[in-house]
Subunit: 336 residues, 2 copies
């Protein structure tokens, strides 16, 4: 709590200012995550910790801690809610890997490769159950409402994505609806429960939700650009995973719309029919660059990042506000 | 409610008296189930309704309605909680089919065979999210506590079962721990929220929970006996599914313990190594009969059924109490 960043010497935009502010709380969240993924059934902590200890940034729980801090919350409910948010996220990752048949996650073998799809599905369910238990313990019905609604919306977004898979007709709006649901909803909910816990007025609750939601959209846009633009080591997953899975992300949507008849035929063959040959990924990336599809995806992310930042303008200056603003830069700039 | 069953002409033991008492409420639950599995993402209601409309008995939500009735509850929160309970159950079935790689469910193709594993995982997650949303809408923190705890315990039980799969060393106690968690916990929770909603004293809450928990154990024991003793048409699934999946249920535990060295070798080959030949299922059933393993599994079910019935003795006579008692007979007698 006592950490003050002098405004004159503001740290390099990034996640460090936030890490400094939430550090002590984050230790408690990590403790909670550890104790709540424990079980007499040894496979549960094994699978859970494989993923949990694999060095995710824990961005989502930090949003809960930071928005609670921004709103002057004095209690301790934010710790359990932050842990719940991370559990919801981890459960989604476990289930996603089964759905996408992914081999890698955060630079390690995906849990399903080590323990099987069954364990990934069930341990995900366990973490979801534990997440709800913790929320109930905090006892705030408005927070429960926000987080349980997010859980339903996330799953809806995942199914939407599944339905749109391999469909090159997907529009930018369709794509946005998917990422709004599957990614941004949890960022929004994680950021909304802070002011809710603190009993802040409606406008501040909406502001924090808006911050999280737009940050989440920006985050996913960059993620989708990285899938074609990063390196394996940087990504912690294989480059071109989305390509191989026939996932229609914005770089593809833009390249398809802007493409020649021949290029559209290329996207149909590779993504719809799944007929992918050796040099196709390189060809896909080259085509994307030709149409500035990756650059414009990042540009779109900047737009949502700006909206996130503006949502917070309602709040007076504080280290919390600056740190949350820097997180936007961190999310947008990690791509390039 | 106005329905009175004359005690002299008590209906044939079965589920009919309960159906009569909860009929009107059950219509509202079914309406809720239908409206809450709706989504703009058309795959969601398709997958959900495939399973929901496939003629399950809806025993679990009926327990919520009936224990609410038994305890004189006058509100309408039990409708949404009952629908939540059914959604939790449906989500578990969707995920189970993926875990077990089942082809059939309730006499129809399993959802995963029609829409794929992905859809089964994600629609299950959606239903779980909707279940929590409905619980939150009811707004009872004690009920939320009971049901969210059950969600975590159910998943824990499923993982426990996965860990014990193919292990012929599984003891009767190990087996009981699994079915207590994966099946009985939801029966218990479904029965506990009735008196909780009605604001009844602790002893009555515990009594209803005890009723549901023991009924659930009896129910699962019979289910596991049926997997070796029923016919495909009667079961709505393939006879011998558990056998082919290497699931260690009580009929196997008893047959293994009581068996000769040669018979134990048979169980190790078929269940641990999964080397199953054409006549092995028939041989397994014959060995079970030799050791009275199926009969004794039913006998064990009778024991837990009696405990369920006794748990309700705390309550004065009422049509609700008789109907709940008849459900025990229904569950135990459906086997043979």
């Amino acid at each position: 709590m006592g950490v003050v960043i002098p405004l004159e010497e503001k740290a390099e935009p990034g996640i460090e200012p936030l890490l400094g502010l939430v550090g002590a709380d984050m230790d408690r969240v990590n403790q909670t995550i550890l104790s709540r993924s424990a079980s007499d059934v040894s496979m549960i902590p094994e699978v859970a910790n494989h993923l949990i200890s694999s060095g995710g940034k824990r961005l989502r729980p930090m949003l809960t801690l930071a928005t609670a801090g921004l709103c002057g919350y004095q209690g301790s409910g934010h710790i359990k809610l932050a842990a719940s948010v991370e559990f919801m996220h981890t459960a989604t990752l476990l289930h996603d890997d089964v759905v996408d048949e992914s081999d890698m996650r955060r630079g390690k073998l995906a849990a399903r490769m080590l323990w099987g799809n069954e364990a990934s599905v069930l341990v995900g369910d366990f973490l979801l159950g534990q997440a709800f238990k913790m929320m109930v313990e905090v006892g705030s019905l408005p927070c429960l409402d926000v987080l349980s609604s997010a859980a339903a919306v996330i799953a809806e977004g995942e199914v939407m994505q599944l339905s749109a898979a391999k469909d090159t007709q997907t529009s930018e709006d369709d794509y946005l609806a998917v990422i709004r649901a599957k990614t941004a909803a949890l960022f929004g909910a994680a950021s909304e429960v802070g002011p809710l816990l603190a009993g802040r007025p409606k406008a501040e609750i909406a502001a924090c939700r808006g911050y999280g939601l737009n940050l989440g959209i920006a985050f996913q846009l960059i993620d989708d650009a990285l899938d074609y633009g990063g390196t394996s080591a940087k990504l912690g997953k294989n480059v071109g995973d989305d390509f191989r899975e026939g996932k229609i992300t914005l770089p593809v949507v833009l390249s398809f719309r802007r493409g020649t008849t021949e290029q559209r035929e290329f996207w149909r063959r590779t993504l719809e029919k799944g007929e992918i040959e050796d040099a196709d990924l390189e060809a896909a990336i080259a085509t994307m660059h030709k149409h500035r599809a990756l650059e414009d995806t990042v540009e779109r992310a900047r737009h949502y990042g700006a909206m996130a930042r503006d949502a917070l303008e309602l709040f007076p200056s504080s280290p919390w506000k600056f740190a949350l603003s820097d997180v936007v830069d961190f999310c947008v700039n990690r791509a390039f």
